[in-house]
Symmetry: D2
Subunit: 427 residues, 4 copies
């Protein structure tokens, strides 16, 4: 029976690293965190209680979910919490301190791993030290294992605290990769009273000891899966009788990239994936595309998405094939709030192991914490997206990604100090 | 005042060659022929009486028609026949002989010239001998001047004939180029009692002295004009605000050529013309395409046309521009009837100047006489498309096209003998 | 230890059906046939002795070959023949009869299965009766199991024959699917003295009892694998720094289908397969295409292949990616010889179970027996491609394909009678 | 004989408006300005003495140049200056004042008109008041008539000046439209000692009375003319024998628009013009494209230009047609210098008719004054691009464009005060 009890933040990270779970399948991860926070005395909202379950994007098939639950059970995930999750991952844990008159502070960490294999060479530390992924084809290659461990570390450090009199809410978000979990979590009920909100990321090109108090302006992003369904035919005997899904796909690709630039700001378009597997002599009856658009603003992103749909629709019509599209994931943009950036900058300045604090920086990547920050800002709170430096030997999303575990303690310390500082602010 | 009276068939051809008129503007040509045949005693059906006026394809604008009438008048076309035509070219002339108990025989010649400049070098005989085109940009480069002259020659040779007791109908068809006049003439009333029908063409790669008694199986053909109308924009300041007609055109062109081949037989697709004139920094608001499809059968041609329309429609939709299409011209296919081929082969064998008779050959070009032949076949008559060899220094449709005028007499003789032979057959 | 000894032609076919092996991996099949024909007294030429080993097309990787050998060994293929094959499948078996003064007769059957799953429903006889494929993803869905069984049947029937005084050569060809084995077998040494040559196919839409004595004029065909290799990039952060293999692929696909039609005869072009697997936010670094061209003549086929290469080359250049292409397979065209058709038509007329003999018919499919027939014709022999009717519940290449096993005996009988008739001709 | 003598700045503008001359054909305009400035005592550098004649872009054909000289002569342009120009338009006029110890100040105005028709309705003031274009298809639709008039006004106001002791250089630049004259003028010898440099534009969306002291950051821009030359063929009889220029063009257009966005900043791509005029049944042998790229920096612009050339090259290669490209025009980007902006802002604040002064604003349009500003900055001087508000009824480049002539006096006044202020600065 697995448990996080007694393990320190580095051990927690290594246990999670060895058991990576991709978006919406974080059953073992959620259950272990839930058990530990339950033990520490937090109130738990699990699965469908943590987020707006119907708004989830890019959810795997029922079979895949069932398989993931089985695998979590086999790997010793505590049964009781698995049951309470009822097929939905994610967790919000909260606790009120003292007289509860202080501010409500939210912290968000993400749980999910990537669907990619991990390096197995000796030179890759997780392999050498025995905590590389035990799930072939899945890997914590973006540091979310560390994020979750920091979340657990914060929960422990804040477990019995007399120097804070507000409320702490810890958001353990599923499916950040692809931008699938942020929107439903932002639409859940737990952000509406949050006054200060912190999301964090390890690494991002910063060395251990550097803290970015406020990342800004990621590109908004939407991911669209498209399937063209035509009709097969023998390419030699009856080429005219097929309805060629592959011709539709090629027309779509050419015209997607040709969507015009926009004077209002940066936009992006990409087709990452195309698949149409047939023998050479078969007119393609099915072709799948995975498309991504981005925009400097949400409006630009929407405009790109609308144009992409138009291209796909008419590429299908042109070749008399059917089109199905499904939104796979989505992120928005944000600007971190000055009040929240001030809190973190102040907290980080005095923290152990921090030697450089940057107030603001643009963030290249897309992030679905955008939806949570936006929700907090809408209800009048302050949010910021924090970078915790963590020296790295290899880039994010690569097979040899690893993190400097010294950054975990820094992360816990900066966040705990930030929470306390919010309390002081709130006076 | 121009007139054909007194001129021989070579003079007629040269007069017409010097005054070429493109499709639906053959006012001078029609009027001169009408005057001459009226004089010879034929009953005339002019303009709207000769063909189904509402079924005309690819008709020029009212301004162009009015300009052509003016030009014909200025060039001495007899006023009286111009008036009777009332803006519509084309003529059917008929005459019944003896007791009228013999068969009704139809002969079709075409009147129109091409819109292309004629060579002006001394080495080009029409230039050297002073009968080159006086209408810049228009030229008889396909021999229809000769066809019309042959038609006049037949009318004269058959003017007072006692060795034929049937009815002769001469069809002077406008707008063969582009396949615009055949369909409306086939839908007029004059073919329904025709028992033998002959259409003819000079040249086509055959030397003077050769006669093809039955050409067969041209590709069916349809010509479609398409205009994409979008919205202009400044390509630097607001590229997104345009609706780009040129992108629609490029998408259409790529996908038109990519219409799949057909197992049932040969098909063709071509985009001859594209025009979208703008400065470099203007998002195109208008693009015009001229498209042509062909098929070995009428069904294949229709299938290509339908696919082409689908491509055009969705190319427009993809780029949010409007589409207008108009059928510019159309031809069908045919197989010459054995009975008619026999007549011509027999007639040609004995004719002066004929040294080789080929019974049948496939014809590469498209021909809208197809509709007339089909009409005759539908009502139970026999039709054939005849090749009259005419040695040539340059290919059809080129600037230096000319015909060996010795072929004109051969053409008249073969056709007159064929008419008489029909009469003999009819016994 | 598996063996064909004692099993009748239906049992042989069922054993092979249960153990399908795709092109160039027919180790068990070849070894079992070799053992049986060795036992019957034929001289064997195995593997590299049967065909021009360096001319093989579309050969799987060394790993796949090694795996296939292991699987054959595990399934009881006789070790001794596996060793003699040394990684190359295919067999020519020959025998001379009497004084050897009669003609040399060649018969070709093909050995390979398709890479596609077989139906598992009860309604599918092989599943119901327990001889469905034991190799997931591989299936005899084109009847080659039956062809090989007929080859074995012929060998048995011809084992000790006193009514034939020539030479019999049995060609067991690998890798007919995709057109990969015909060319190397035609370039081997065994066809140069063949005077009569017969290839055969079951089914092809003919009911059991029908024999086509001479199929004609398949389209020539070439299959080309293309890989575009570019450079990956983050589609949001640095879209310009990638070299996009997928854009090259889309450009190629659009322009491949747009290769112009040809006036000399039918052509075909198809892209069956495209694969470029990446996350949505990755600029594609690799895209694979599987392309097929066809032509009514070998020249048309070559012209299509050359044009396809040109399109692929410049699609790569346009997007600054590298291109690798490999010819995967190839077939040619043929016309069956009258002398050989006469033999088969005569033989079939008297055969048991034959109720209709068709002398000639065009064949829709492509066939690499074309190269063998062409070789025989080049050296002065006569070849024909024979259809043996076999009623079917489902089309060739589909999951529920099966054959009426009554056709197997018909096949053996027609071919044996044809061989004898060649002998009689030879007198 | 035409002359500017005695006419005020409004009359000058109206005379030029009635005689618009497009890029590199400004013979009458240059000659009239030259005569007037000669009279006023300026030293003249005409034609090849004014600019680097070999670096001119987008120069019309010799025939067009000769025709334009004739037209200028017919319209009364002074013969003497026409002769000195020797086929090259453009003028630099200079004068040194007092002891010449003050700064050298350069002012640039542009001379050319657009190739577009002018509105002829009564509601269009130039038509109503009789000074609309007398050159069909050419129009001053961007205010350069006003710019030149302002240049003449400045020359007069500075003719005999005792309150300035530096040097004034007036640059009358040809061919600003399309970015064709700025580069050669920047490479001439006259900018190397300029300390303050002012270029100006009327209108640009600003009302009369507004002055923009420093426009900034136009997009860099390059215009490329491309011609694909293939081989014609009959689309029905021999579609394969052509080399289709139109297919190359369509492939190019699709892939030009699909050039990826760039993370370093804004880019643009446009194909404004495409022309391939043929009959429907002709495989296109020639297609022309007019392409424009832009970039936020010169490097981005170059990168787009290089990518566009790559696309064009391989679109040609793919369809086996030849490609010719010619750079038609080019602009760069700039940031106005603080020192120059200060001068203009100070000068404008006290000028008659100015009621609002904006220090800086981004400029949407491209401008080839960029090359002149860059040259001045390179040699250590200060440059700025000035907006002189001029209320307008219709947008730049449209048929009904006109300017509020009250802006002309404002322009002269602001610039003269700026020159004097440079002199004062220089103390």
């Amino acid at each position: 029976m697995a448990s996080l009890r007694g393990s320190d933040v580095v051990d927690v990270r290594r246990d999670l690293h060895a058991h990576p779970e991709s978006g919406w399948t974080e059953f073992r991860t959620t259950a272990l965190v839930a058990e530990e926070l339950d033990r520490l005395g937090y109130r738990l909202h699990l699965g469908a209680d943590a987020l707006a379950v119907d708004e989830r994007l890019g959810v795997p098939s029922d079979d895949e979910i069932a398989g993931a639950v089985r695998r979590a059970r086999d790997a010793g995930a505590p049964e009781r919490y698995l049951d309470r999750m009822d097929g939905v991952t994610g967790l919000v844990a909260e606790r009120t301190y003292g007289d509860g008159t202080g501010p409500t502070v939210g912290i968000r960490v993400d749980l999910d791993a990537l669907e990619r294999p991990e390096a197995s060479e000796e030179s890759h530390r997780p392999a050498r030290e025995g905590f590389a992924s035990r799930h072939p084809g899945t890997m914590h290659a973006c540091g979310h294992d560390g994020h979750t461990a920091i979340g657990v570390g914060i929960a422990r450090a804040m477990a019995d605290r007399s120097d804070f009199a507000g409320t702490l809410k810890l958001f353990f978000q599923p499916a950040e990769e692809g931008g699938r979990g942020g929107l439903p979590m932002s639409l859940g009920p737990h952000l509406d009273d949050v006054e200060y909100f912190f999301a964090l990321h390890l690494g991002l090109g910063n060395e251990t000891g550097t803290v970015i108090a406020g990342y800004d302006r990621p590109l908004s992003n939407a991911k669209l899966d498209a399937v063209f369904r035509g009709e097969s035919a023998h390419a030699g005997k009856a080429p005219e009788s097929g309805r060629n899904a592959l011709q539709a796909a090629a027309t779509a690709i050419q015209n997607l990239y040709a969507i015009p630039r926009h004077a209002d700001g940066a936009t992006r378009i990409n087709v990452g994936n195309v698949a149409s597997p047939n023998a050479q002599n078969v007119v393609s009856e099915r072709a799948e595309l995975r498309v991504e658009v981005r925009g400097e603003t949400a409006a630009l992103n929407e405009s790109m998405l609308e144009r992409a749909r138009r291209v796909l629709t008419h590429a299908a019509g042109m070749h008399a094939v059917e089109l199905e599209t499904e939104l796979y994931g989505k992120t928005s943009t944000f600007v971190s709030d000055r009040a929240a950036v001030d809190v973190v900058a102040g907290a980080a300045s005095g923290a152990d192991g921090v030697d450089e604090v940057v107030r603001r920086e643009p963030i290249g990547a897309s992030e679905d914490a955008s939806f949570l920050i936006d929700r907090v800002q809408t209800v009048g709170g302050y949010g910021t997206y924090i970078g915790i430096g963590a020296s790295n030997v290899a880039g994010h999303h690569t097979a040899r990604f690893d993190i400097d575990e010294a950054a975990l303690g820094v992360g816990v310390d900066v966040l705990v100090r930030s929470v306390l500082r919010c309390g002081a602010n709130g006076d």
